[in-house]
Symmetry: C2
Subunit: 117 residues, 2 copies
Amino acid sequence: MAEAASPAFAALPSPPFYAAIFSSLRNGDDEAGYQAAAARMLELAARQPGFLGVESARGADRFGITVSYWESEAAIADWKRHAEHAAVRAHGRGHWYDHFELRVAKVERAYGKSASR
Amino acid sequence: MAEAASPAFAALPSPPFYAAIFSSLRNGDDEAGYQAAAARMLELAARQPGFLGVESARGADRFGITVSYWESEAAIADWKRHAEHAAVRAHGRGHWYDHFELRVAKVERAYGKSASR
């Protein structure tokens, strides 16, 4: 496992593992509610069996990508069924996003590099 | 293929296909050079056989995620070998990033949703 260069990077084991790639366009409404829910979901996800890590970025155009990493597809399915997560997802679909896409993928290869210092 | 809700979303076929998940921390140097190279790489990638689309987000913290989508692993390998792309990658490793990670993954499932209007 490579040491993460910044807290923004997930420190992941060697592949294979799974990725849930969530891309979304925020509608700009209820930023405080959205931020609180996002922090809570991260806290809950990190406690789920099989959670490996998460990386997230959102630009000023409100388009964002969050990739969460998991040991298995079963771990993603369990997280999807988590009751509080399901309730927040249902709320989010109606209140926070103009559009979103979720892609579930099996990570087969990985490499990384830090700048020489 | 779902119609994209915004140009920020890639309009992708049904899985399976492949994803190159590139996460990076910009060092903040040479923003003009970086932007020009990123635009040029997007233009070149879009001409590559097997290119399906790309999504990208970078926050004010300089951490970004770009996910490019491809028909096959071979298409990703061909893009990696593209001479101009290889030269720009080599330059970028030394000049634009504090750190980056690349994960290559097979997308197995996908779904999306737009807000009701």
